[in-house]
Subunit: 226 residues, 2 copies
C-alpha cells in the first residue's frame, strides 16, 4: 500500500493537505496551529492531516518545547508540488492561490528554501552569464571565479558539497517557466542574502521584498533592475 503512487496522490489530493503543502513551499517550518490557520480548519483536524503526511514521509516534525514544527522531509517533495503548480491552467495565472498579491509573488519569492520568481530566474541567468556557475548535465558546477564570488558571501562551496543534499541544480520556475538555482547552494545563497538584508521575507506569503540595499547590489553586480 505504501509503495504505490496512489498512496501519495490520495494524500496530496485532500484540499487541507494541499494547503499545508502549498504553505510549506516557502521553506519555513510551521507549527501545527499556524498551519491550521492557513488551511482554515480546527487543531484536531490539522493534527490528523499532519500525522498522515509525516507517516508518509512527506513531512518531518521537530518538537521545540510545547510546539511542533513541520517542514518538508526532503526537497523532492517541494519539487513535486512545484511540478503540480506548473499544471495550473494558464489564463495569465489570474488567481494564484486565491490571494491578491500575485504580482509580488511572481516577481520575487521563495521556492522551498531558495530564490524564485522573475528575480530568481534573472539572477540564475546572470550567474551563468558571468561564468560563476556552469550547467553540467542536470546539475550546476561552480567555477573557480564562482568559488571566490560565493566566499564573499561567507559560503564555503567545498564545505557545502560535503552535505548529503544535492549541491546545485536547476529547478523549473512555475511562473517564469525557466530554471532557477536550487539545491544546497541555492539555499545557502538565499540565506546569506537574507542575512545581508538584500531581501526580507514577508509574514504570510512566499513573496519576498527587495530592500534598497538589495536593489543596489542586484544592479551593480548583475545589472538586474528589480
Amino acid at each position: 500500500m505504501k509503495q504505490e503512487i496512489g498512496y501519495i496522490t490520495s494524500l496530496i489530493g485532500d484540499p487541507v493537505r494541499t494547503k499545508i503543502l502549498w504553505t510549506l513551499l516557502d521553506g519555513r517550518a510551521y507549527t501545527a496551529t499556524e498551519l491550521a490557520l492557513c488551511a482554515d480548519t480546527s487543531p484536531q483536524n490539522i493534527s490528523m492531516h499532519l500525522s498522515k503526511l509525516v507517516q508518509a514521509d512527506l513531512l518531518a516534525v521537530e518538537s521545540q518545547g510545547r510546539h511542533k514544527y513541520y517542514r518538508f522531509s526532503r526537497p523532492e517533495v517541494a519539487y513535486a508540488i512545484e511540478a503540480i503548480g506548473n499544471l495550473i491552467p494558464d489564463e495569465k495565472h489570474k488567481k494564484i492561490t486565491g490571494n491578491t498579491n500575485n504580482a509580488a509573488i511572481k516577481h520575487c519569492r521563495t521556492c522551498y528554501d531558495h530564490l524564485a520568481g522573475k528575480v530568481g530566474v534573472l539572477l540564475t541567468e546572470q550567474l551563468i552569464e558571468q561564468k560563476l556557475i556552469e550547467p553540467e548535465g542536470a546539475v550546476y558546477l561552480v567555477t573557480k571565479k564562482g568559488r571566490s564570488f560565493f566566499s564573499e558571501f561567507n559560503i564555503d562551496t567545498d564545505e557545502l558539497k560535503k552535505s548529503r543534499r544535492i549541491f546545485a541544480k536547476p529547478c523549473l520556475d512555475w511562473t517564469e517557466r525557466k530554471p532557477h538555482l536550487a539545491g544546497a547552494l541555492g539555499a545557502a545563497f538565499l540565506e546569506k542574502m537574507l542575512l545581508s538584508d538584500y531581501f526580507r521575507k514577508t509574514k504570510d506569503s512566499r513573496a519576498i521584498v527587495i530592500t534598497a540595499k538589495g536593489r543596489e547590489q542586484l544592479y551593480d553586480r548583475f545589472k538586474i533592475q528589480a
Copy 2:
C-alpha cells in the same frame, strides 16, 4: 476554482484517475475501454473520470471512428506525475505498481515518449560523454558532431527545433535518480530506435525490451552492456 492547485491535486488524488495517469505515462494513447481495464472499473465510470481530466486540460482526446483515444495534453503533465513518483517511499522500490516485472521496468522503460530507466540514463550519459549533446542551463544543446549523429537516424535536429515543444531537456529518472534525455529530441530518438527495431514496446507495461540488434548497437556505439 480552476486556477488553484487544489483543483489539480484533487483531480490527481482519485485512485482511478491516478491509475489512468500512471498508465498514460508510457506515452501511448489509450481508448476509454482500455483505460477502464487498466483501472479496473466500469466504462461509465472511466468516461466520467476522463471527461474531468480533459476538462482540466490534463488529457487530450482524439476521436477515431467509434473509439476515443486519450493521451496527455502536454509533457508537463507527465513530468509532474514522474515527480510524484519520486516521492514513493524507497525501501528498494519493492512494489512499483503492484505488478511483478519491476526489474524490467527499472532497467529499460518509456517515460512519456522517451527512453528512461537504467538504459535511458546510461545512453544519455554517453551522448554527453561523446560530445553529441551538451548541457546548457536546463536544456541540452546538440553539437555539430551530434547533428550528424542524429541525421544517421533520420532526425533533422534543425527541423525539430521549429516545433513548439522544448527541444531537449533532462528529465529526472525516478528509479535511477539521474537525468535522462527528454523533450522533442528524446521523443524523436526513441521513435527512430523503435522503428529501427533496437527496442520493442511491451503490451501492458512501460517496460521496453531490447532486441539483439539493439544490444549490439548499444555496445558498439556506446559501450553499454544492456
